[in-house]
Subunit: 363 residues, 2 copies
Amino acid sequence: MSVNKTLLEAFKETPYKTNGHGSRNAAVLKEAFEHVASETESDMYGTGKVIEDFQTEMAEMLGKEASVFFPSGTMAQQIALRIWCDEKELKKAAYHPLSHLEIHEEDGIKELHGIETVLLADKDRVITLEDIQNMKEEVAVILLELPQREIGGQLPEFETLQSISKYCREKGIKLHLDGARLLEVLPYYRKSASEVCSLFDSVYISVYKGIGGIAGAVLAGGEEFIKKSKVWKRRHGGDLISLYPYIISADYYLDQRAGKMEQYYHNAVEFAHLYNECEKVSTLPEVPVSNMFHVHYAAAKETLEPILIDVYEKTGVGLSGYVRETGEASCYYEVSIGDLYDTIPKEKLKEAFTLLNENLKQI
Amino acid sequence: MSVNKTLLEAFKETPYKTNGHGSRNAAVLKEAFEHVASETESDMYGTGKVIEDFQTEMAEMLGKEASVFFPSGTMAQQIALRIWCDEKELKKAAYHPLSHLEIHEEDGIKELHGIETVLLADKDRVITLEDIQNMKEEVAVILLELPQREIGGQLPEFETLQSISKYCREKGIKLHLDGARLLEVLPYYRKSASEVCSLFDSVYISVYKGIGGIAGAVLAGGEEFIKKSKVWKRRHGGDLISLYPYIISADYYLDQRAGKMEQYYHNAVEFAHLYNECEKVSTLPEVPVSNMFHVHYAAAKETLEPILIDVYEKTGVGLSGYVRETGEASCYYEVSIGDLYDTIPKEKLKEAFTLLNENLKQI
């Protein structure tokens, strides 16, 4: 067992990586642009064929009147909440305690927009209708994240979403969808994107998660909402002269992968099962409802890392480049299934999990 | 004379365009990436070799401790002013009435950051030391734009900059440089970038003006300032998972064009002279001090447009794709000299200006 190599180094050297679509390297851009004509004109500050066509396509897919391409979801979602707060003249928004806005954005929503936030539900479960009905404060907008990424990608049942949507409409509360991984949950729900989005007043979708583009996000909603979002996009410094490197690659990989979400989902279910058969391992959720899940180990990070390195070096299968500590004797990492999973020979996977299980039994 | 064709259409068809580096099309990206290895790893949320190397290079060029790559100058500059305002616990910034922040950003500085702005100098001239000395209000920071783009790219003398810098330091006012076109003014000043930047506490430079990249900006300053700017970059939604499409192209075109700024400047002086020899035409400034100037016509937009179309169609020389009205019988457009100017045969230019002058004499 190599002791000098870090987990990340050992992982990078494996020929069989189980997660994602492949390296985030320049090849992603080069492939997307290989067949793009050199004369293809850049977008110009939000106008031009390349951005307008994609926005139209995305609005149609999401069943909304209009959409706008943003450099990031962070920007798109803060702006969505701001517009709904301004409309109601109430600077309060509610979301899950582990929402991206709460834990990954340096409090942009509060620092830039002065919006107070109300946290719904416990950290370890998804938001229910009851959480919303029992809210003590009035809010302008509620943000729901599907799937709830920080707890392994859990989902409420579709009927719960319907009842939340109905309740919010009755109470005059706007409902915004953090659909960073929206396409990834459609196979479980057995719904189209527009069927899910019809429950929400505004929707954000990422183009570099399951779709595997380079960066960027789409915000969709009604005409008036989108018009306002473009003004805020300019204010945020997101109305770049050229966003085409992101748009063209988003369009390219969306075409390639929108039809593969069912496959990613089924592979995630199969893969989680392999994990759950090992000692001291459990996945969250136990049976995935999208292409993602978290792998929890009842072992200390320092104990697990050499075990994983051993598996990587002996089998060539790379399970994760990092492990995150959750306690003295517990840790986890995230799995998102993409194109790579199906390129790994099944016997290789079996070999890796047999060794992983043996190693875990010995601790 | 074609009457059905718009100015922009006629301009697009000309083989000899006088301004800029060429079309903003996908070829710009494809050329920059042609020799980039596919394995080149993406930056990841502001970290990684591709972004860190470029930031180090730019900090060195600008003579500052550190720099950070931003998706836009709009974002970079609002953040710079915010940091200086927070430091002084005074939310007031001063700049020119035609500053980018005042007229092109939908009041982001006010709406997102709550910063009050003080307008210095008259619209039609650059800021002087006296304007600053006579300011009635206390401000945390002053922004100077070099060159002042909206008035044709005018510049204060370098000695004025030095005295403004000295005054601000004595008074504890931070000085920020809007150096969107900083490299473009160095030949006139006969100074290095770091010599100019040494007069300022923080500096922004664009990578898609004279440099001709795709989009993006660099903010440079002291270590502490840059550290804070990264937090605000995250809040603004500018800390993208991958900025490499912009960074790699910025680096590529900076290498190609940083040494050409002197040539662009001299060509601008020559070109402005051609304009000024025509009837009813004057350039602002009369003798350019960078690669840019404005061309003002003592003619109505509707009168001028068919005249320009005639020149474009008969000589193949394209002078501008638009004309902006400034009054009933006056209009203008902007010229920025880049790579294209030197590709036009001199006799073609002469032919175009002879015809332009003849056409203008007849109105």
